[in-house]
Symmetry: C2
Subunit: 176 residues, 2 copies
DNA sequence: CCGCTCATGTAACTGGTTACATGATTTA
DNA sequence: TAAATCATGTAACCAGTTACATGAGCGG
């Protein structure tokens, strides 16, 4: 059996599948412009990742030289396709479980803050969530315009909306 | 300035703040029974974590012996309280950004699966999300009954509901 | 007293972060 | 042509995982 992939590995593999042969840098950019900071797209993560994938035979690479610049284009191997499908398919239920949320985490300890700060925190959170909502809506509209699938962006939008509703609930229940 | 805390460190510190002097094992259990698998509560994470916090002066510990069993009870130091507040307060916007979601991530590559499997995946996801919903609702009701704050559990519930709605949206748009 | 779970660890490993380096290309 | 940014890396570090070890207490 193939070693199971991390989220980053699976996702990178999926992006190679979707975009055809491409450079680590190309993938890196996709992560970097994602509205979710979870995908840092740091060079130190991506380049070694592709070396790893190649060592395991999930991708293979060709060196291209354009002008004076050398770069390495990776493409999915048959084994890589298999690994992608295995990663995609639900191996266990953790995929469906409630995902981590740093804001929700902090809410447990909110009353460690002095009352005025607590209120300020909540008001600030509401505002920041709304501004994030703006970003995601933009991203969603952009994808729709570009003819890309916007279902994932829609998912992000719905999550943010739920968080916002929740914060409002917290605010009213705290002020009461 | 104090070194910034990881999510796990901040949360552990918060739990010590909320529960008074307690053992790493006690904290560990809280993570283990959490409905979110993000908090693994593995021993290899928690015990070194408390040693680290103590080295940095954020907690101090007392050794207790009950019967023949030795254990170490950690409590929050003034510096630790400061660090907790700093962690709690919004340092930057990433707290509010759209959190990672392994299900959403996979949705980008769903059409790598053969059509029948794709449909099965979605149907399965819906079912699993509903069963997760059951768990979280239970958790929420339990906390309510125990007089604990259930706001955080409510947040988890709302998120799950949003994911479920989203999956339904995906299903109808895929089958169309 | 045997086996199971509780409770407290530890050691090796690893994926991802941070920070730095370097040369190519573009822009002012 | 100088400065900025693009593109490709690399090395040190570190938090958390996995897997193991060990003894205490408890239920049969």
């Amino acid at each position: 059996m193939v070693k199971k992939l991390t989220e980053l590995e699976g996702c990178a593999l999926g992006l190679v599948w979707a975009n055809g042969p491409c450079t680590p840098y190309f993938i890196r950019r996709i992560f970097q412009v994602s509205p979710s900071p979870f995908w840092s797209g740091s060079a130190g993560a991506i380049y070694p990742l592709f070396e790893r994938l190649e060592r395991h035979g999930l991708v293979h690479s060709l060196e291209r030289t354009i002008g004076k610049r050398r770069s390495r284009h990776y493409s999915l191997s048959p084994l890589g396709k298999k690994a992608l499908l295995a990663w995609l398919r639900p191996h266990s239920d953790w995929i469906y479980a409630v995902p981590p949320d740093p804001l929700r985490t902090r809410m447990d300890f909110l009353h460690a803050l002095p009352p005025t700060e607590k209120a300020a925190f909540l008001a600030d959170a509401k505002e920041k969530l709304q501004s994030q909502m703006g970003l995601v809506k933009e991203d969603c509209a952009q994808k729709r315009k570009d003819g890309q699938s916007y279902l994932v962006a829609r998912g992000a939008e719905k999550i943010l909306k739920a968080r916002l509703e929740w914060i409002n609930e917290v605010i009213t229940s705290e002020l009461k």
